[in-house]
């Protein structure tokens, strides 16, 4: 589904990603862990097409297409979704209107008919129920004045509604209390399917207690330096990042 080969990217003059390789198959959940400054968020942003990052080498193909050549909206149309670490507040933009515009844009790009107001509301209610969310968030402007937990839940709700093929969760667990974390995790688990892949970018192992990854990768110095199963995350939790990053330096 996603094939990343030797990806290099700069922020300004500084090289952050230094040859990142990653293969993700359909239905797989990959956790990308690593110390602060290792390039985790940069990787998530480059995949989503955010401005301010310059790709200087390597390639990313998504279902056989050159992902890096696409505009951000096109990536979303093809089924990529980024849950933001810091969801952006959009004062004055109603959340329901926003969600409908997003869903219909994606449907349109696939040649599907746009949903009318009634069908859309029905779909929204259904998704809210699955995620055990109440509808108070929908009447407010997008993320505006939301608490940290509400913002993250809104991200998960968008993900549930837009049904991406590949969801990237950029430190979605950061700053969440245990209840909010559980809602986020439930949301992701509900969406797990043989066709849908997930990248969990996280600093802590905590989220992985709730979402069992198929693979765990350690990103350090702009490269994946260790890959393994979920046991690797537990080991990181116990021993910190030092033992691997140190190993990297020694190697």
């Amino acid at each position: 589904m996603l094939s990343v080969k030797g990806l290099k990217a700069n922020v300004g003059e500084k090289e952050i990603l230094k040859g990142l390789d990653l293969e993700i198959g359909p239905g797989e959940v990959h956790a990308i862990m690593g110390p602060n400054g290792s390039g985790k968020s940069t990787f998530a942003h480059v995949l989503s097409g955010r401005e301010g990052y310059e790709v200087t080498g390597g390639s990313v193909s998504f279902e056989g297409q050159d992902l890096l050549a696409m505009e951000p909206e096109e990536r979303a149309h093809r089924g990529l979704f980024l849950a933001f670490q810091y969801p952006v507040e959009l004062p004055g933009v109603n959340n329901t209107y926003f969600l409908k515009a997003a869903l219909n844009s994606i449907r349109k790009s696939r040649g599907e008919p746009e949903l009318d107001a009634v069908s859309f509301l029905r779909l929204m209610k259904e998704k809210l129920k699955v995620l055990h969310l109440d509808d108070s968030l929908l009447k407010r402007p997008v993320n505006f004045g939301f608490s940290g937990g509400e913002k993250k839940r809104n991200e998960i709700f968008q993900m549930a509604l837009l049904e991406p093929k590949l969801a990237i969760l950029d430190e979605t667990d950061s700053g969440l209390d245990i209840d909010a974390l559980r809602i986020v995790a439930d949301g992701v688990n509900t969406l797990r399917s043989p066709e849908r892949s997930v990248i969990l970018v996280t600093h802590y192992q905590r989220l992985l207690d709730y979402i069992q990854p198929d693979y765990v990768h350690v990103l350090s110095g702009g490269r994946i330096i260790r890959s393994g199963g979920k046991d690797l995350a537990l080991e990181l939790e116990e021993r910190g990042y030092g033992w691997i990053t140190g190993e990297e330096v020694a190697a």
Binding site: G49, E73, F84, V88, L90, P91, G92, V93, A102, S105
Partner: protein, 437 residues
């Protein structure tokens, strides 16, 4: 150039309206003298520093003195807002047309009608009201309006009267062979404890060239309430000038929303005077200016008395080669303690060719007050745009959504849902055709 350039507006003789009323002729004559004495505004005058009247003078406007009688109710159906129930008064080229209006049943103590009509039937009701708020010392365009005073809307609510439906003024302009200037004068008087909502809509049939030079005088008695929603959506070739004069009695409340969308050249002068304590004045504004458009706002809020509050919150969206001027002045006199005044002007400038001159001024002479002002001129936030695009929303729609979100704060103040939706559609429609890239 001299004041003579407006001679054609004034005309040699007075309009027939209010014939035989000496007091009215005296006011007109005084205004004519004022016009001749003032001359043409130049950029040396502070009020005209950023705006030239050259384009306006070049058009050679003449007074719209013919009544447009050919219009039938079905001709104006396209400008009506479905679902908006109102006491409707229609003016065409400045003239009240009862045949197109639908004032309907009025509760006791309420009078709604045409100025000319009431000058004929009950001139004494208007004697002290004409220039009653605007005063005799009028700036040029208000003086021109007074000199040509002929017709307009009159809304009179006696003590304690209340309207459950809004009064809707539709001012419709229809193009003529020669470019015309209509100068409606509106009088709105809400006496003690009375309450009303006024919706003013300035519209055109077609895209013709004309000028509207309107004056509205609002007086609010003790504890009176007026909600006033003004939508200027004139023809893209039109010139629109308006003077809004508001006087607030003790404990009264005025809440205004001023939306400026149309016209090639639009000038608004807003004057607020407090005549009693504990009064509140809330002025909200939204303007859009694209290619060939100028939106020019001048606010003059005078806190002479203590314990009054005023809000001035204007937002602008500029694109193409659009231009806007926001010149807001809030004055707080020495004795006006406990004044609470906040002025804000925020602008979204979506293109390099667009321009805004913002000049908020607070002049405070009292020491126990709460006053603030702020101005911003900015672009759309790239992070906001990216957030929307990352959800599959294409850049042009994403920009429109953010602009509508920006405008939403003002549009939300419009109480009537059908009106709010209609105006939001107009804003959206303009954004759709705006070169936003």
């Amino acid at each position: 150039m001299s004041g003579a350039d407006f001679d054609r507006w004034i005309g040699v003789s007075s309009p027939g309206s209010g014939a035989g009323l000496d007091w009215l002729e005296t006011k007109r004559e005084a205004a004519r003298a004022k016009v001749r004495g003032q001359g043409i505004p130049t950029s040396k005058q502070e009020a005209w520093r950023y705006t030239s009247v050259k384009r306006l003078l070049e058009q050679g406007f003449v007074p719209a003195d013919e009544a447009i009688t050919a219009l039938q109710p079905e001709d104006i159906e396209e400008v009506l807002i479905p679902g908006l129930a109102s006491h409707r008064v229609v003016l065409v080229n400045g003239r009240y047309l009862p045949g197109l209006s639908q004032v309907g049943q009025l509760p006791p103590g309420v009078r709604i009608g045409g100025l000319q009509q009431i000058l004929k039937s009950d001139p004494d009701a208007l004697r002290d009201r004409v220039n009653g708020v605007a005063g005799e010392e009028q700036p040029l365009f208000a003086a021109l309006n007074t000199a040509g005073l002929d017709d307009g809307l009159v809304v009179l609510l006696e003590r304690g009267a209340a309207l459950s439906q809004p009064v809707e003024l539709i001012h419709l302009s229809v193009g003529m062979d020669e470019p015309r200037v209509a100068q409606p004068r509106h009088i709105v008087a809400i006496e003690d404890g009375a309450q009303a909502t006024l919706i003013e809509r300035y519209l055109s049939l077609g895209q013709s060239l004309y000028c509207t030079n309107s004056v509205l005088e609002v007086s609010l008695g003790r504890d009176a309430v007026l909600k006033h929603h003004r939508i200027q959506d004139e023809s893209p070739n039109a010139f629109h000038i308006t003077g809004l004069y508001i006087r607030l009695g003790q404990g009264s409340r005025y809440q205004g929303v001023n939306v400026g969308l149309g016209a090639a050249w639009a000038r608004t002068d807003l004057q607020v005077r407090f005549a009693g304590e504990h009064a509140e004045c809330d002025l909200q504004g939204l303007y859009m200016a694209g290619d060939q458009q100028l939106m020019d706002y001048h606010l003059d809020v005078d806190h002479r008395l203590p314990h009054c509050a005023s809000r001035e919150n204007f937002k602008g969206i500029l694109y193409g080669k659009g231009r806007a001027v926001f010149d807001g002045r809030v004055y707080v006199a020495k004795d006006a303690q406990k004044t609470d005044a906040a002025m804000s002007n925020r602008n979204l400038v979506l293109s390099e060719g667009a321009e805004v001159d913002a000049k908020p001024q607070l002049e405070i002479n009292a020491d126990d007050v709460k006053c603030s002002h702020g101005t911003t001129v900015g672009q759309l936030e790239p992070e906001m745009l990216f957030y929307l695009r990352s959800r599959g929303i294409k850049a042009p729609l994403a920009r429109r959504m953010l602009c509508l979100g920006f405008a939403g704060e003002i549009l939300d103040v419009l109480e009537s849902a059908p009106l709010r939706e209609q105006v939001a559609d107009q804003v959206g429609h303009r954004l759709e055709h705006a070169p936003l890239d």
